[in-house]
């Protein structure tokens, strides 16, 4: 028989752990933005985002970072017209739009003067950094109006690159399909000598197509890793490429999505991983798992073919989501940056306020 005191202590400990676990499942406000959060991203160092005024179409006016053990969030750059941000080791790279033109800036995470990596950019959209370079897209205006079926006459989209140390001139990595006024889609990642991106085309002529492309960073043939109808999103997770697609099972495919998975490099599609995801949402990775944030909550996606699991049954802003550590970060009402612990350990630590 254990002494009664030890039993009571054990019971109290279990109760405290349970309470901490339950408490850790609640969202935790990490930062309150002064306006609207324009872009939210993450890398191995932490979470970063842009803040602008409350106008829905306004670009960001400041760049912020939040790193482990270094709260509160820090503003590292204040300039008008910021549209995209990406992590690049000890720095952030930021796109600044000036009308149809723009420039690429690098700013240390710890704060300091911004360095211009490239300027005079034409319709710059999308941003990623890796392997010592920053990647973005530029669009040249169309040459002949009304000749959509002659792609050479239409707007031309190129994937561009510049060295993060500022050396050399920006270069063209590859030409994309283009045709639209500006690049539509996102640059996913630049790593292991390749750049991955999702290009959305033909939206002005129906549902359009989303193609997940793999481009050699040194330049070369653009390979299509996935081609899906409609506007889709993708995520690189370890050696896997996950991408959404129109649902195979739902009565109205426009209302639901399936999730496909394949190899990181162009490889045969291994097929749908899950189905019946809400139609609008974004993929993110946190704590080694893949999540899908949508208007009806946060879904944890299976490793093998299975149903998704709803882990947070609260409305989330699907367009702004990032994963870092064991938690998913979203932007809530009033511009509050919310942290949603997703792993048991993260929940427990969050419950006793160790973050």
């Amino acid at each position: 028989m254990l002494p009664r005191t030890i039993v009571l202590l054990l019971v109290a400990l279990v109760a405290l752990v349970s309470a901490a676990y339950v408490r850790g499942g609640l969202p935790y406000a990490m930062h309150r933005a002064s306006g609207r959060t324009v872009a939210l991203g993450s890398d191995a160092r932490g979470v970063f985002w842009l803040e602008g005024d409350a106008n829905a179409d306004a670009p960001g006016q400041s760049a912020w970072v939040l790193e482990r053990g270094r709260r509160p969030a820090r503003c590292v750059l204040t300039q008008a017209g910021l549209t995209a941000v990406a992590g690049a080791g000890d720095s952030l790279v930021v796109l600044r739009r000036e009308g149809f033109s723009g420039k690429l800036l690098r700013v240390p995470r710890g704060g300091g003067a911004a360095v211009t990596l490239a300027e005079g950019l034409s319709h710059p959209v999308g941003l990623a950094a890796g392997d010592g370079e920053a990647y973005w897209t530029e669009t040249q205006p169309r040459l002949v109006p009304g000749a959509r079926h002659l792609p050479a006459t239409q707007a031309r989209v190129s994937l561009r690159a510049a060295r993060l140390d500022g050396s050399g001139e920006p270069r063209t990595v590859a030409w994309l399909r283009g045709g639209t006024q500006e690049f539509e889609g996102e640059i996913l990642e630049a790593a292991q000598g390749r750049v991955y991106l999702v290009e959305v085309t033909g939206r002005d002529c129906g549902a359009g197509w989303s193609r997940t492309l793999s481009v050699p960073a040194a330049g070369g043939v653009v390979e299509t890793a996935a081609l899906e109808r409609g506007t889709q999103t993708a995520l690189l997770h370890g050696d896997r490429l996950c991408w959404t697609a129109a649902s195979l099972d739902a009565g109205d495919p426009a209302m639901a999505r399936s999730l496909n998975v394949g190899g990181r490099l162009p490889a045969p599609d291994t097929g749908p991983l899950t189905d019946w995801l809400p139609s609008a949402g974004r993929l993110c990775e946190a704590g080694g798992r893949t999540y899908y944030a949508s208007a009806d909550g946060l879904w944890r996606l299976p490793e093998q073919r299975d149903l998704p699991r709803l882990v947070v049954a609260r409305p989330l802003a699907g367009e702004s989501v990032a994963g870092y550590g064991g938690a998913v970060y979203t932007v809530g009402g009033g511009g509050v940056l919310l942290r949603w612990p997703c792993t048991p350990a993260a929940r427990l630590l969050a419950g006793i306020r160790i973050r």
Binding site: A147, H149, L150, A152
Partner: protein
């Protein structure tokens, strides 16, 4: 104790009760019969006499008797040979019928020429290199090694030679006996993107310059006509020399076709008309009744009906038929704003997404449905030029205050 008078029940007279009930019932009946509940009313209100329900005019539609079907490719872009729907195209920009009944397709985003046999088997006949990216490339030689860059308008000679406008390379080329060669056009300086800029120069074919040629038409005597889209001019290649005929009025020649009389028909989307150019004459626009195409992009003579032309309107996603007297919407729907779609069926239901090329075999039309990445076939009904009968089964959905724009029945 005196009773509270306010709490005392007052008796209503039966007459008053009846009057109130009659008034309430009358008001309800009035509201119900006049349809005032939850119904929008047109400007003018009840006093103006125009107080009917607010109606949107029904958009002009194609002919129900015209049957539209998909015969090659199917929505998803790609480069794959195969039978009919199994094949994959990527932006078919132009199509031409060959004497043997097959069809040649300029598969623009694939930088290739494709052939569709009469049994709808699709094969690749010219072009190589990576598809679906800019820029393409230029190389003459064996067809499977030649490099093209967004091929566009085609014309097939009686001996099976395929002439085509290699729009991205700014050249006119031909495919003959399995070899691709250049008929006219030469290299031009490249822009910052590495693409040739094209130019404008008449003279010997090997030295002449074009800018984004979009269509070719072959005359009986071997003269090639070129729609030089980027230069906004009509060009002529005869006896190895390129010239620019005077053609006032043309703004953006995009599609070309030759009729049996030797007259050249030019689709000009910017001026919004189909020009007729008789040899030695000036461009003229025929006067036709009916609904004309708004932005004609390409055209071809209807094989089964001399003097009739099929015209595709790329921007408005519709197919028309024209003769000397009449113009009619054959397939597609014309809402107030251009709308794309993909639907087979009757011409009044069919939907397209940037139809930009057309060819005729017998009484069928074959249309390049560019953004749907497929070839659509349309059977032309015999009495297309006659106004459709007003059917009892398809009543007009409302009262009309005047003629609808493009109302064929009203014409």
């Amino acid at each position: 104790m005196t009773p509270n008078r306010k709490l005392t029940k007052r008796k209503l007279s039966p007459v008053t009760t009846a009057l109130v009930l009659i008034l309430v019932l009358g008001a309800v009946l009035y509201v119900y019969t006049k349809g005032l509940l939850g119904e929008k009313r047109a400007p003018g209100g009840t006093m103006g006499g125009g107080g009917g329900p607010m109606l949107q005019p029904e958009p002009p539609r194609g002919l129900p008797a015209a049957q539209v079907s998909t015969v090659a490719g199917y929505l998803e872009p790609g480069l794959k040979d195969g039978q009919g729907w199994e094949a994959r195209l990527n932006g078919p920009a132009a199509i031409a019928a060959a004497p043997d009944g097959s069809l040649y397709v300029a598969d623009a985003r694939n930088h290739r020429l494709r052939r569709i046999a009469p049994d709808m088997a699709v094969t690749t006949v010219a072009g190589s290199g990576p598809p679906d990216c800019l820029p393409g490339a230029f190389a003459d030689g064996p067809a499977d090694q030649a490099r093209l860059f967004n091929p566009a308008g085609l014309a097939v000679a009686a001996d099976g030679t395929v002439y085509f406008a290699d729009s991205g390379n700014h050249r006119i080329r031909r495919l003959k006996d399995g070899v691709v060669s250049t008929v006219a056009g030469s290299a031009t300086p490249k822009d910052a993107l590495g693409c040739e800029q094209g130019g404008y120069r008449d003279g010997p074919a090997g030295a002449a310059l074009f800018r984004f040629p979009s269509a070719v038409a072959l005359d009986r005597d071997g003269t090639l006509w070129v729609a030089d889209l980027g230069n906004g001019r009509l060009r002529r290649i005869a006896n190895g020399v390129v010239t620019t005929p005077v053609a006032p009025g043309l703004k953006q020649p995009m599609g070309l076709a030759l009729g049996g009389t030797g007259a050249l028909e030019v689709a000009d989307p910017r001026s919004g008309v189909v020009w007729t150019l008789v040899p030695g004459g000036k461009p003229a626009v025929g006067r036709r009744s009916g609904l004309p195409p708004k932005t004609p992009a390409a055209l071809c003579p209807l094989a089964s009906s001399p003097g009739t032309w099929a015209v595709v309107d790329a921007e408005w996603n519709a197919v028309y038929l024209l003769n000397d007297a009449t113009s009619a919407l054959l397939a597609g729907v014309l809402p107030p704003q251009p709308a794309t779609g993909f639907r087979d069926g009757g011409g009044d239901q069919a939907a397209f997404a940037w139809p930009c090329g057309v060819a005729s075999v017998g009484d069928r039309l074959f249309v390049c449905d560019y953004e749907n990445n497929c070839i659509r076939a349309i059977t032309v009904p015999a009495g297309w030029a006659a106004p459709p009968p007003l059917s009892e089964e398809r009543p007009r959905p409302g009262r009309w205050s005047g003629r609808r724009e493009g109302d064929r029945a009203a014409d």
